[in-house]
C-alpha cells in the first residue's frame, strides 16, 4: 500500500509570494495534519483536519491556511511568504482524529529567498 505522498518535493519561492503544498493520505485514513520543521528542531503542529473540518490549529499566523477535500487529500497554503517560512513541511495522516499514530510523508522542502 502507498504511504503518505506529498508534492512538490522541493520548492523555491521569493518573499511575498504564495505557495500551495499538497498531501495525499494513506488510503482509508480520514485525518491529515500539517507540521513545519525548521532545521535542527522538532516538527511544529500547524493544522489538523478530520472529515474535511479543521479540528486543531497551532500557533501560526493567518497567512497559513489549509483545507481537506472529500477524498481526504489536503492542501496547505501560505501567503505573503517570509524568509522564516523556509522549512520542511510535513504532512501526516492517521485513521481517526485524536491520539492516533501519525504516519508522515516525505515532506516538501520550501526555500524562501
Amino acid at each position: 500500500d502507498a504511504g503518505v505522498t506529498q508534492s512538490p518535493t522541493h520548492l523555491i519561492k521569493t518573499r511575498g509570494q504564495h505557495v500551495t503544498l499538497r498531501c495525499s493520505p494513506i488510503s482509508g485514513h480520514k485525518s491529515v495534519s500539517w507540521y513545519q520543521q525548521v532545521l535542527g528542531q522538532g516538527p511544529q503542529f500547524i493544522f489538523q483536519y478530520y472529515e474535511k473540518e479543521e479540528r486543531g490549529r497551532g500557533n501560526f499566523p493567518d497567512r497559513f491556511s489549509a483545507r481537506q477535500f472529500p477524498n481526504y487529500s489536503s492542501e496547505l497554503n501560505v501567503n505573503a511568504l517570509l524568509l522564516g517560512d523556509s522549512a520542511l513541511y510535513l504532512c501526516a495522516s492517521s485513521p481517526e482524529w485524536g491520539s492516533d499514530t501519525q504516519y508522515f510523508g516525505p515532506g516538501t522542502r520550501l526555500t524562501v529567498l
Binding site: 522538532g42 511544529q44 501519525q102
Partner: protein, 112 residues
C-alpha cells in the same frame, strides 16, 4: 515555544555502548509517542505509550512513560550504527486534544 523538552540535544555514542534520552512535559499528556528521523528523511513512528508507568520494549529499545504522565525515556542498549538519527518524543496534552507536540529531538551519532 515547545512545551515538550528533550535532553540531551546531542548524544555521541561508541558502538556497543548504552544511552538514554529523556523527554519532559510541562503538562500532563494523554499519551507519548516516539519517532525516529534519519538524516534527510521524515519522522517514522516507533511506539506509543498510554498508561501511567508503562514500559515497552522493541529489541534493543526500551521506552518508559512516567507515573505522572509528564515524562518519558528511551534507552538503547548495545548501540549500532543503524541507530544513527534524531529521536523525537511527541505528546498530546490532555487539554489540547489532537495537537501533537514534539520535542526538539536528540541527535544520535554513533562512532564505530
Amino acid at each position: 515555544g515547545q512545551q515538550v523538552m528533550q535532553i540531551p540535544q546531542y548524544q555521541h555514542v561508541q558502538e556497543g555502548e548504552d544511552f538514554t534520552t529523556y523527554c519532559n512535559s510541562s503538562t500532563t499528556l494523554s499519551n507519548i509517542q516516539w519517532y525516529k528521523q534519519r538524516p534527510g528523511g521524515h519522522p517514522v513512528f516507533l511506539i506509543q505509550l498510554v498508561k501511567s508507568g508503562e514500559v515497552k520494549k522493541q529489541k534493543r529499545l526500551t521506552f518508559q512513560f512516567g507515573e505522572a504522565k509528564k515524562n518519558s525515556s528511551l534507552h538503547i542498549t548495545a548501540t549500532q550504527t543503524t541507530d544513527v538519527g534524531t529521536y523525537f518524543c511527541a505528546g498530546i496534552p490532555t487539554d489540547s486534544w489532537g495537537k501533537l507536540q514534539f520535542g526538539a529531538g536528540t541527535q544520535v551519532v554513533v562512532t564505530p
